[in-house]
Amino acid sequence: MSDPGYDADEIMTVAAARQLKNGMVCFVGIGMPSAAANLARLSHAPDVVLIYESGTIGSKPDLLPLSIGDGELSETALSVVSVPEMFRYWLQGGRIDVGFLGAAQIDRFANINTTVIGDYARPKTRLPGAGGAPEIATSAKEIFVMLRMTPRAFVAQLDFVTSLGHGSGGKSRAKSGARGRGPTRVITDLGILEPDPESHELRLTSLHPGVRLPDAEAACGWKLARAADLAETPAPTAGELAALRDFKSRTAAAGAGRPK
């Protein structure tokens, strides 16, 4: 395969950014979601409202923040509220269109683990923990998840359910008392997955250009289903790539950036 002119992280970020519609109110999780959400704001969705759990509402950072509480987020925000208010009035209040999360592990029903690998009491790997994710996952109107596709991340059985996706599939989420539609998109470096409307099992709905179906299947720890009308993700446009690279180089120049 010839050099497409962008790397896997770039198309993942571009593909994720495209999911955000202009005017949406987006609760931005730590890590890659922040790059995607800001790319959306800097390209096709200038009026997307970015909310960070540190309390910033309507942040318009000029540099990619390293954390969810950088000064850049607060100084460019329409409003900065306390963290209790953020979780009560804004997230639990039902005002979030999209919660945008990262994950360490995900299962076929888009349940997420960011707590431990291995046994909880004697973990093989202790991960950072839940943060805001459990209540983002059960309060926002829908959830986008963003992570690289590998057999260690896409597992048949989570070691720990940190945040509910579609539970055990079928109507299990609807019966759980969770609000919102749950994960509607999982955006990876290989393609995009969406839950089946009935079973709620994730299906591959789009492959990024140059990625072959067996690549995606090999990167998934369960037998990956695919949509009948499996699409190819449109390649990043020159404008999208320029906006993303410009943002990242501004950040690097300022010495403030998130290491790749």
């Binding site: 730590i30 890590g31 759990e53 540190s54 309390g55 910033t56 923040p65 390293l66 954390s67 969810i68 509480g69 950088d70 000064g71 987020l73 607060s74 100084e75 900065v80 509220v81 306390s82 963290v83 209790p84 953020m86 979780f87 009560r88 997230l91 639990q92 349940n111 707590t115 909880y120 004697r122 973990p123 093989k124 790997t125 202790r126 950072p128 923990g129 839940a130 943060g131 805001g132 994710a133 459990p134 209540e135 996952a137 059960t138 309060s139 720990f160 359910v161 940190t162 945040s163 509910l164 539970g167 989420r173 759980s176 008392g177 969770a178 010495g255 403030a256 950036g257 998130r258 290491p259």
Partner: protein, 288 residues
Amino acid sequence: MAEITSLREAVGALIRNGDSVAFEGFTHLIPSAAGLEAIRQGKRDLGLIRMTPDLIYDQIIGMGLARSLTFAWGGNPGVGSLHRLREATECGWPRPLVLDERSHADMANAYAAGASGLPFAVFRGHIGDDLPKVNPAIKRVTCPFTGEELAAVPALNPDVAVIHAQRADRKGNVLIWGILGVQKEAVLAARRSIVTVEEIVDELNAPPNACILPSFTVGAVCPVPHGAWPSYAQGYYKRDNRFYKAWDAVSREREVFQAWIERHVLATSDFAEFEASLKAAAKETAHV
């Protein structure tokens, strides 16, 4: 009424061995100087509380001074793991750490309940996640009107809350702006409190509806310029992202970590000396 004292006096008088202590800060205004002073004074058996434990908790835990950790997200934001926290939870080194693990919504509500004089907090949360399976403190209550089940957690009322703020006036009234986190709630929920500040001023010059902790709600106010470094204080200095990245290497190995604490924290007498010590070390490295 708050007393204006040195940080050494405040930590000595207000933090006791065995206390539950919330050194709060949410990326912004992390009370780093106060955390280091607690290490310097060897405060031990601490029940640490914090929504987002970062470097100072890595340091306190790495020195074996903590018995437990109530938290929701423990990492080095944008960089990776807290290696001392991981070694304590994965290997029990230098001592086992009891985890009281929560989510942000959970802890934010629990602090607010503590500040509100309520015994518990109610929120719509912990639906379908495994935290209630490993944390018996998470229960459920039923709405007496709709029958809906909601999550309930006990109020957080730390023995001591420690925060950093931008300013206090000479009476000890404290002004905070920018990202506020749960610092106001932590102080109001705690039995005792220490607030380090960038500066003491004659007049707060607070805008209307600013976040203020009146003097009568605060124990000690301690002027410690730069005291939130390597985090930031809006209006004073920016986040030192380079140090957050550098911490990854310092904290990865036990011996390197311990040598760092020995040289820069235990062998210095206050935060100004600690900063000078770091600067001297950076110069040495540059000269090599």
